[in-house]
Amino acid sequence: MIGPGPPAAAGPGLRLAADAVAPLARARLRPGRRGWVASRFPRTANVRLAPGGPEDWVSLHAPGPLPSPFGIACPGALPAWAVAGTPVAVEPGGDGAAAALRLGSAWRLALAEAPSAETAVPPGAPPVPAATLRAAAAIVTGGLLPVTVALLMRDAPPGAPCGPGTARGTALDAVLASQARPVLLALFRATRRRDPAPALRAAVALLGLGPGLTPAGDDLVIGWLAGLQAGGGGALCGAIAEGLGDAAASRTTPLGTALVTAALAGHVGVPASRFVAGPGPVALTALLAVGATSGADFLAGYALARRALGTALGAGERGDRAATRGVLAGAGP
């Protein structure tokens, strides 16, 4: 039978409809496509559609702002039985567009009338206030935000929690920072010069680096790409796109590759795109709540790109001696 039918689990007469669909997901859910659940977490199911390349991913999420650039927001919790390996199919509607996503044999999610999620990186976005970056650095210990903020701001807060001479996180965090620091510096400098070859090298070196199912370095690169797109570095972004996409597969996880590919196409998770559009405290809190350090790592890459492109770190910077005396002040705007 063709067309949406009542999902078995929900009982007769109930229709599940998606709350929101990301544009990338909508584009990928062409009728007749099939795939499978690649990984399953309490509030997320990642789906790989055949043939399973970086542009063949979509994801299902429990209610809330979509954390993924190719996500679909479900109206309720995801069915518990939809574990990794569960088959997925896209059912056509009457007019040839996709009508519903089917999990397993009978659970359906109607797509046609769902609004689009705001996952596109808005160009010409406002700068990130220095105070916002400081507030984030005061909270986050893990991932790459601490070492990035230390590079960008001479008087960066020692970071939470802190102590005499700045005791931070674990020894592994410290090793991560040592490994990342020279690469971040190289990325900053290459971005400033709009020089594609070293920028690509540095971005590739960050892929796959650090903790997280999607490694911290991937999230940072995604933030960097968003910063290029929002801050006038579109040409640089275009110049490294192919090389980055090619390199990703061997450097990081398939999901990480998929997310980087989406960012190259100008899409990020909703908390990230909302932050880019309006980097205030509420958006910051929502961003930092994503993953363990995913949101913070995005912020790190985003701030690094914006700073390097010379669209300064926000109001008060002229009076912000710390920013002008930053480690990179010699290469400042």
């Binding site: 070492v147 102590g163 796959g208």
Partner: protein
């Protein structure tokens, strides 16, 4: 250190779970470090740098989860890994049965009315607020946080003194209270010597020396690095000295600090006299105050030796070296090394007080010594505190991340003018699990690089630590010696040895007539 690893192919857990798994592994008995990372090329390098790579981990690809632990013993490592699958299956972290963590200090204060001490290590911008809450609730404060504004510090300490509560810090890295070490603390026996410290590393050094001398610490009360400044005026030092004066377990009192503001010195001397117990004062850089009541010594080691002597009813007189014969032997070893030695001293320190002590000993002998990494005329002597704020803002402290100093050591091997490299090593709870390892490796490289260029590089150092510290003093000393470091029993002796290397004529003064 034993490193074991397991691979879980295509096991996907979200980042929060992975973080919790790593934390849970780290919390297991005997485990020093743990990682739960995807096996990407970049993470293989990370695991290597962190000493967590094994032939097992090398087989992991980007879709494989790598779980690695570094532990004290085989058994600890295997037990930790055996728990891994259960941890991976566990849901989001639930509070341990019966113990749900309060989300604010307020709640904790209400729930734990008999918790007399609040230990605060949140960022400086927020620390004063939390400390004030604790003091208003009638608790004592251990304020590990730094970057607390001076005005806040003064207000906090006034409040604390008015309520007769201790406010240890801000910027207090170490303390010993009622037999418990707080912050960066070495494992030392409880005993009869009480210490008031405006320097965390100073407290550590004295406590470790006391342990080596067979004595113990009753309490080590940190007051924070700025307490003896003109602005703060020693508010907390006064209260801490008074506390030790009244404490029945404390027989001898030691005061240690970097140079106090001149205005505080006379009142300090008076407070020491009023203790009613024998006292030793080591305020680095101050000439002894010629007034009765306390013995003033010039080095941290002497402070410990003097306190131990007072406790045992013995006399004390400072001596440059504990074992002049060993020093002669070390000098002979050095003379036998091929190559020219450069004329310049470079000190790379992780402990600020130790750097200061070394400068104090060496400046009269060598002339001007600059304290930063760059700048100054060519050929100038340098002693650098790598833990200083300007160098660590946002970066890991060198006591936690030895890589920063190791890089400096390697570079020293390439500098033709550096003939003597002076270093410290600080052990204890809360710092790196094996600080000697990276330093020893860097020293080997530096000395080899110098040798290859026809030069001789002498590396001298000391280790602050005790046998009971998690790192083990003897093992750490041995690793340094194997790498070619001349390890002296104290920082002061190491500095004097460095002086002998650069000014051989001092031998008659420091070593006495040749046997």
């Amino acid at each position: 250190m034993i490193v074991h690893a397991a691979i879980r192919p295509a096991v996907y857990r979200d980042s929060v779970v992975l973080m919790r798994v790593a934390e849970a592994l780290r919390a297991r008995p005997g485990v020093r470090e743990a990682a739960a990372l995807m096996g990407t090329p970049a993470n293989h390098a990370l695991l290597g740098s962190a000493g967590l790579a094994t032939p097992e981990t090398a087989r992991a690809g980007p879709t494989d989860l790598v779980l690695a632990v570094a532990a004290d013993t085989e058994a600890d490592a295997q037990d930790a890994l055996a728990a891994v699958d259960a941890l991976l299956e566990a849901g989001p972290r639930r509070p341990a049965a019966g113990r749900s963590r309060p989300r604010t200090l307020r709640t904790a204060l209400a729930e734990a009315p008999d918790a007399a001490l609040v230990a605060i290590s949140v960022p400086g911008a927020f620390a004063a607020l939390e400390a004030r809450r604790a003091l208003h609730a009638g608790r004592h404060v251990f304020l590990f946080s730094d970057n607390v504004p001076l005005a806040e510090e003064i207000a906090l300490k006034r409040l604390a003194v008015a309520r007769r509560r201790l406010c240890m810090g801000p910027d207090c890295g170490t303390a010993y209270v009622a037999g418990v070490g707080l912050g960066f603390a070495n494992v030392v026996p409880c005993g009869r010597i009480g210490i008031v410290a405006a320097s965390g590393t100073g407290l550590q050094a004295i406590a470790a020396h006391l342990a080596a001398l067979g004595e113990g610490v009753s309490h080590g009360l940190g007051v924070g690095g700025r307490d003896l400044s003109a602005e703060v005026g020693g508010l907390m030092t006064g209260l801490a000295l008074d506390a030790l004066a009244r404490d029945p377990a404390t027989e001898i009192v030691v005061l240690v600090s970097k140079p106090p503001a001149p205005a505080t010195v006379p009142t300090l001397a008076t407070a020491l006299r009023a203790l009613g117990k024998p006292a030793v004062a080591c305020a680095l850089g101050t000439s002894p105050v010629a007034a009765g009541g306390a013995r003033w010594v010039e080095t941290l080691e002497d402070a410990a030796r003097c306190a131990a002597a007072l406790a045992a009813g013995r006399g004390f007189s400072p001596a440059p070296f504990a074992d002049p014969a060993a020093v002669r032997a070390a000098l002979a070893r050095r003379a036998a090394e091929p190559g020219r030695a450069g004329p310049v001293l470079l000190g790379l320190y992780t402990g600020g007080t130790l750097a200061h002590e070394a400068r104090g000993i060496l400046a009269p002998v060598l002339g001007p010594i600059v304290d930063d990494l760059r700048g100054g005329p060519a050929g100038v002597h340098r002693i650098v505190d790598l833990g200083a704020d300007e160098l660590t803002a946002g970066r890991p402290h060198p006591m936690l991340d030895p890589a920063a100093r190791a890089a400096g050591v390697r570079e020293a091997g390439r500098l033709a003018e550096v003939g003597v490299l002076l270093v410290d090593l600080v052990l204890g709870r809360g710092v790196h699990p094996d600080p000697a390892g990276p330093l020893a490796a860097a020293v080997r490289e530096a000395r080899a690089a110098a040798r290859a260029a026809g030069r001789a590089l002498t590396v001298v150092g000391s280790v602050v630590g005790t046998a009971a510290d998690p790192q083990g003093l003897a093992g750490q000393v041995a690793r340094l010696r194997e790498a070619g470091v001349e390890v002296l029993p104290s920082n002061a002796q190491a500095a004097r040895f460095a002086a002998l290397c650069l000014r051989p004529a001092l031998a008659t003064v420091l070593l006495g007539p040749a046997a």
